[in-house]
Amino acid sequence: MGIMQILHMNKGEGESSYAKNSTVQKQIITVASSILEKSVLDSVHKTHPKSMGIADLGCSSGPNTLTVISKIINTIYAASYQMPELRISLNDLPENDFNSVFISLPDFYSNLKKEKGIGVDECFIFGVAGSFYGRLFPKNSLHFVHSSSSLHWLSQVPPALDKNSGKHLNKGKIYISKTSPDCVLKAYLYQFQKDFFDFMRSRADEMVAGGGMLLSFMGRSSSDASAEVGCHQWELLAQALMSMVPEGLVQEEEIDSLNAPYYAPSPEEVRNIIQEEGSFLINHLEAFEISWEGGNACDKHDYDDLEKLSRGQQVAKTIRAVVEPMLVSHFGREIMDELFTRFGNLVDVYFSNTKAKHINLVISVTRKD
């Protein structure tokens, strides 16, 4: 199965859905709020659009999707004497659950009308299914682009590491690790460089001069790609999988042949590609620390308090919502509950002696003339 078919978040609104388990991604959006606002305002002031093309790339589904769009619309509304017409495209891969986003649109539109007097003939929201590692929109049609928690997903597993490559270069691991040979790090870096370049080049064609782009995705601060911050959630997931091998629940070969289509770049690696592509000016590049638990640990119990899930189990839910479709296609559905229970336990142990953090990179750029 190609990436296009398996890389999607858990659908619907159930217990293990992305919709119910995307608080970390929500926190990431919140933390970048003021940079987003500035980036949107800059693009309005530089391009003075009468009709403004806006795109959210990797929109997924769930409450965060329309929250981001709201933030963008609110910023434009507050800054504009006369609102431009808004053409908003929500993009994700074809397997994304667009239906659940669309079903919330009628209420979204009526709130817009009620709160800001913005009518259906002034704000148009479309769904665009396809990979952002290529052209999605007509030339010069976009004034503002947003992408959050998406660009750490590569277009494919690096070919040398793909399960069909016949070689198992990254034994016992599913991402870059301290035990990974150099060729694994090189393969991942190369794939990221190619993908991110394609992303920037495509956006360069689609954006007008002066247009703004706000990108937010997982990264790392160390120059060493195998440093703990940036890899450790995959490390623990691999450990959980490996622990199931002696019991015959999982074959070691299955783990050896799986590598995540993911990369957490350093700020330098990002900057290099942007400069190489050449069409964008970097306004801001910042690395934020985000706890593995998203916002405050205490505001998480909005569903089953009686269950009293441990912190590790709660984190396991958020990771599960994201990686389950990919793991199911590789290992089958039967082992998922057990896998994530074990993963949650490993996270609890990790929490007991570390303040577990992700690094999230936020980059604001402007399309040059």
Binding site: S89, N99, F102, V120, A129
Partner: protein
């Protein structure tokens, strides 16, 4: 009850889905394909846009949706070749209500893109396809954004059941011989409101010289009580009544948000709205083909189920669905054995005046 939140064709790819049960609709569209393609070519040659906007209003979900796109794109590419010009960029908007199963369409897109690029220089012209949820009874798109609008088997669906009808139309679910006179008046009024709003909205979205090809169910004479499309609703009513499991009050209060206009009713609204010229209006009857089904009745039953399931389930619950459509299929066959039932389809081609 908000139609926008309940009404949709049955999604997915399963046995009772619209995807698997829309061959009747496909045949209707195929019958006039040559006119659709001709209209597209004429429009292109008249307007010669660099960036061509196409909208399918009421695109639903299933193989018909995407095969339409390919035909339209091919038509324009041929036309542009005939004048030795490069083809335009295509912006394709697939519109339906927010409850439509867009996921199934999107999942089929990678294959469509591959097919569109096959064998063409540099992969052919750029084609951007977007899904656009919303009701076409009102504005959907920015001004002057479209050159060609296609709508097949959608405009006979009203924005709502005409107000008051569910209280007075007791022993019917549409206009029947038992309906009081006010019922058909109410339905006509709702159609007029809806269709005129449709035209007004499209008028601002279409460029001058742009074309619309509209295909919808209709009726040939002034009376609704005939053995045409309204008769299929009569049979559905009889199927529900025969079940014996439904409370009388529930059945009395169920009515469909449907209207089969006559040629005159369509042309009247176009004339009143004033932005469009009627290029063509044709009515035709589809041949009765059972396809892969044991009988035509069963073919119709499966088709109607995939269309009506959301509304019937919402009003009566899901449990009765299998039985109702079983009875329905048999009643259709019984009626056909007695006398013909003619389902009329109308084709309307309009040009936006400059």
């Amino acid at each position: 009850m908000d139609i926008e939140k309940v009404f949709h064709m049955k999604g997915g790819l399963g046995d009772t889905s619209y995807s698997k049960n829309s061959s009747l609709q496909k045949r209707a569209a195929d019958k006039v394909k040559h006119i659709t393609i001709e209209t597209m070519e004429e429009m292109f040659l008249a307007t010669r846009p660099k960036s061509l906007g196409i909208a399918d209003l009421g695109c639903s979900s299933g193989p018909n949706t995407l095969s339409n796109i390919k035909q339209l794109v091919d038509a324009v590419e041929n036309a542009s070749r005939s004048i030795a010009q490069p083809p335009p960029e295509f912006r394709v908007y697939l519109n339906d209500l927010p409850t439509n199963d867009f996921n199934t369409i999107f999942q089929a897109l990678p294959d469509l893109y591959r097919e569109l690029k096959k064998g063409k220089n540099h992969g052919g012209p750029p084609i951007y396809i977007a899904g656009y949820p919303g009701t076409f009874y009102g504005r959907l798109f920015p001004d002057d954004c479209l050159h060609f609008i296609y709508s097949s088997n959608s405009l006979h669906w009203l924005s709502r059941v005409p107000p008051g009808v569910s209280n007075i139309n007791k022993k019917s679910i549409y206009i029947s011989e038992r309906s009081p006179a006010q019922v058909s008046q109410a339905y006509l009024k709702q159609f007029q409101e809806d269709f005129s709003l449709f035209l007004k909205s499209r008028s601002q979205e279409l460029v001058g010289g742009g074309r619309m090809v509209l295909i919808l169910l209709g009726r040939s004479g002034p009376s609704h009580v005939d053995r045409g499309n309204s008769f299929f609703w009569e049979i559905l009513y009889q199927s529900l009544a025969t079940l014996g499991e439904i409370e009388e009050e529930k059945l009395d209060s169920y009515d469909v948000h449907f209207y089969a206009p006559s040629k005159e009713e369509l042309e009247d609204e176009v004339r009143k709205e004033g932005s469009f010229k009627v290029e063509k209006v044709e009515m035709f009857e589809m041949e009765k083909d059972a396809g892969n089904y044991p009988s035509y009745g069963m073919a119709v039953a499966k088709t109607v189920r995939s269309i009506q399931e959301s509304m019937i389930a919402h009003h009566f619950g899901e449990a009765i669905l299998d039985k109702v459509f079983d009875i329905y299929g048999r009643l259709v066959d019984q009626e056909l054995a007695k006398d013909d039932i003619k389902s009329i389809t109308t084709l309307l081609v309009l040009t936006k005046l400059l």
